[in-house]
């Protein structure tokens, strides 16, 4: 089942539903009764993007239309802003291939910017050559009525490295999925996430990491905040296949639930079939620390400001791991501007 196939075929039965284990917290079939027509090409001018001024070049995919490939030859270093923009109430499927040659280095500043109601699936096929490096930062601000899926498949050659940070405020229903294959040996992946869901918004961050080659490293930290009637979903799965000896995999997911009607669902999974493997996972879901809140208020910080400060501090650890300085500042300012509304 896939949203992209449903959009292309027009067959509602193709939509992912809660009957699939993998989609039980992010049912789309129950939500989408009619699949809208594909949106026409967008002719107007786009508003400024969140990463303007930080990239060597900008690639735009508007209403699903845009280039099919971003390729870096061996040894090339580049910063590319990738803007997925939705304008209009149609459906927007898109496919993009990103190829990095050996030792190429790409910083991908990806934004998912949407307004109004639309249905979208963006598929990315990413391959990293030997010793190549990708830092991917995704900032998703989808429309309130959007049903949005992003699915990235990343293949890591030996010694390649991926560092990813997904930052999202959710959508009506949203899945940001990343599948990483440590095909070669000695590759590393950092897969971080940060979600802020309020109102009736939903965010699902799903990752599947498969260690096939030996000595691969995976380090994951996801933190989230659910307020009002928001719902956050984290599904993290790490598989260490036979022969992937020496794998080192760590996964952490920590969430704050700020209201009674907010919800966070988490499913961390480790499956290990190799020897000499170091794996760990930690998962916590709780409320804001009332002791700290009283302490801050005792010093004169008003309650709303204290809540926002503590929420922002809770999320800070994920932001600090972003390596690209400009992107880190953009994300820090973005999170600061949103925590006040949630807390």
């Amino acid at each position: 089942m896939s949203l992209a196939r449903a959009i292309i075929s027009g067959d509602l039965a193709e939509l992912p539903s809660r009957r699939e284990e993998d989609w039980r917290w992010s049912d789309i079939r129950a939500l989408v009764r009619v699949l809208p027509e594909t949106s026409p090409a967008f002719e107007g001018e786009l508003p400024p993007g969140p990463f303007d001024g930080l990239a060597d070049e900008t690639v735009e995919i508007v209403n699903g239309g845009g280039p099919a490939e971003i390729a870096l030859a061996a040894g090339v270093k580049r910063v590319v802003a990738l803007r997925y923009v939705a304008r209009g109430a149609g459906s927007h499927p898109s496919k993009l291939a990103i190829r990095l040659g050996a030792r190429a280095e790409l910083v991908l500043l990806e934004s998912r910017e949407g307004e109004a109601d639309y249905v979208t699936q963006a598929d990315l096929a990413i391959t990293l050559g030997e010793g190549a490096r990708l830092e991917r930062i995704v900032l998703a601000t989808e429309g309130d009525g959007a049903v949005a899926v992003s699915r990235a498949e990343v293949g890591l050659s030996p010694s390649a490295s991926l560092a990813q940070t997904v930052v999202t405020t959710g959508a009506r229903r949203q899945r940001l999925e990343t599948r990483v294959a440590h095909a070669g040996g000695g590759a590393c992946a950092r897969l971080d996430g940060l979600y802020l869901v309020g109102a009736k918004r939903h965010s699902d961050i799903t990752t599947v990491v498969v260690h096939e080659g030996p000595d691969g490293t995976t380090d994951q930290l996801t933190k989230g905040v659910a307020a009002d009637q928001g719902r956050g979903v984290f599904q993290g799965r790490i598989e260490v296949r036979p022969g992937a000896d020496g794998a080192d995999a760590r996964m952490g997911h920590h969430a704050l639930v700020l209201s009674e009607r907010a919800e966070v669902d988490a499913k961390p999974e480790l499956e290990i079939f190799a020897d000499d493997v170091a794996c760990s996972h930690g998962n916590t879901i709780g409320a804001l620390d009332e002791e700290a809140l009283f302490y801050a208020r005792q010093r004169g910080i008003p309650e709303a400001e204290a809540r926002a400060m503590l929420t922002e501090a809770f999320l800070g650890a994920v932001i600090e791991r972003i390596e690209h300085e400009g992107a880190r500042k953009v994300v820090r300012a973005f999170v600061a501007s949103r925590t006040g509304d949630l807390a």
Partner: protein
């Protein structure tokens, strides 16, 4: 300045304070001593407005203003400072950021000008020096990985910076070695002022060797069981609290 009258406080369905009456005039330092479980910390928390500390009767006023009617942050802006027995660590918020946010929040409520970053740093650097604190530590998360003594110095640094009208020090001596105790006491003594009242809560007399109170009150079983001059603290040190415990 601080006027507490017949204060009754419940915590989780148990009445802890059963009619505390206490006046601390401006310019004076009063000590509240008492056995464990007497309600000393409850008195401190109730004055600061901690959620869960329910005042069922009585009043507490600062310069005539009803404290019990105010939120914890409004009380702070009105001049109430509580030095916590167990200061809270806040990872991700540097101590300097926290303190500057607090100071400017209080200034805003009182209609005073915001303190600029350079002025603030100058002020805090000087105070930290007096308390023999490592300034770089203040760039780290508030109280994160601070030792017990460092946390207490951090409390005194905040008190000095926020310059409250009423300072309540809850067991500030606990967890301090003798050198740290002297430094903290010097900090507190430097804060004595004609327009400031201080309430020093302690189980032991040793802090009062360094901070000489104008009056000493014994809190036992939720009430003030005795009041007197500094000599009362020495008498307690000698005879213990048994007399008051049995009276309860």
């Amino acid at each position: 300045m601080l006027s507490i009258d017949n204060l009754h406080v419940r915590v989780a369905d148990a009445e802890i304070l059963k009619g505390v009456t206490l006046d601390v005039p401006a310019g004076e330092v009063h000590a509240v001593m008492g056995p464990n479980g007497a309600g000393k910390s409850t008195l401190a928390y109730a004055l600061a407005g901690r959620p869960g500390y329910e005042v069922t009767a009585g009043s507490a006023r600062l310069d005539g203003a009803d404290l019990l009617d105010m939120s914890p942050d409004a009380r702070a802006a009105a001049g109430v400072f509580l030095s916590f027995q167990y200061p809270v660590a806040i990872p991700g918020v540097p101590a300097l950021t926290f303190l500057r946010t607090a100071l400017n929040a209080q200034h805003k409520v009182r209609g005073e000008a915001e303190v600029s970053a350079p002025d603030f740093l100058r002020l805090v650097r000087a105070r930290a020096g007096e308390l023999k604190m490592d300034f770089d530590m203040l760039r780290r998360g508030l109280n994160v990985d601070f030792s017990g003594g460092e946390k207490k110095r951090m409390e005194i640094l905040q008190m000095m910076t926020l310059s409250p009208r009423l300072a309540i020090l809850d067991e500030t001596d606990s967890g301090l070695d003798i050198d740290a105790l002297k430094i903290v006491a010097q900090g507190v003594n430097a804060m004595r002022a004609p327009d400031r009242a201080m309430l020093v809560i302690t189980h032991y007399q040793r802090l009062l060797d360094h901070i000489r109170p104008d009056k000493v009150h014994v809190l036992a079983a939720g009430r003030i069981a005795a009041s007197g001059g500094p000599e009362l603290a020495h008498e307690l040190e000698r005879a213990g609290y048994d007399r008051y415990a049995s009276a309860a």
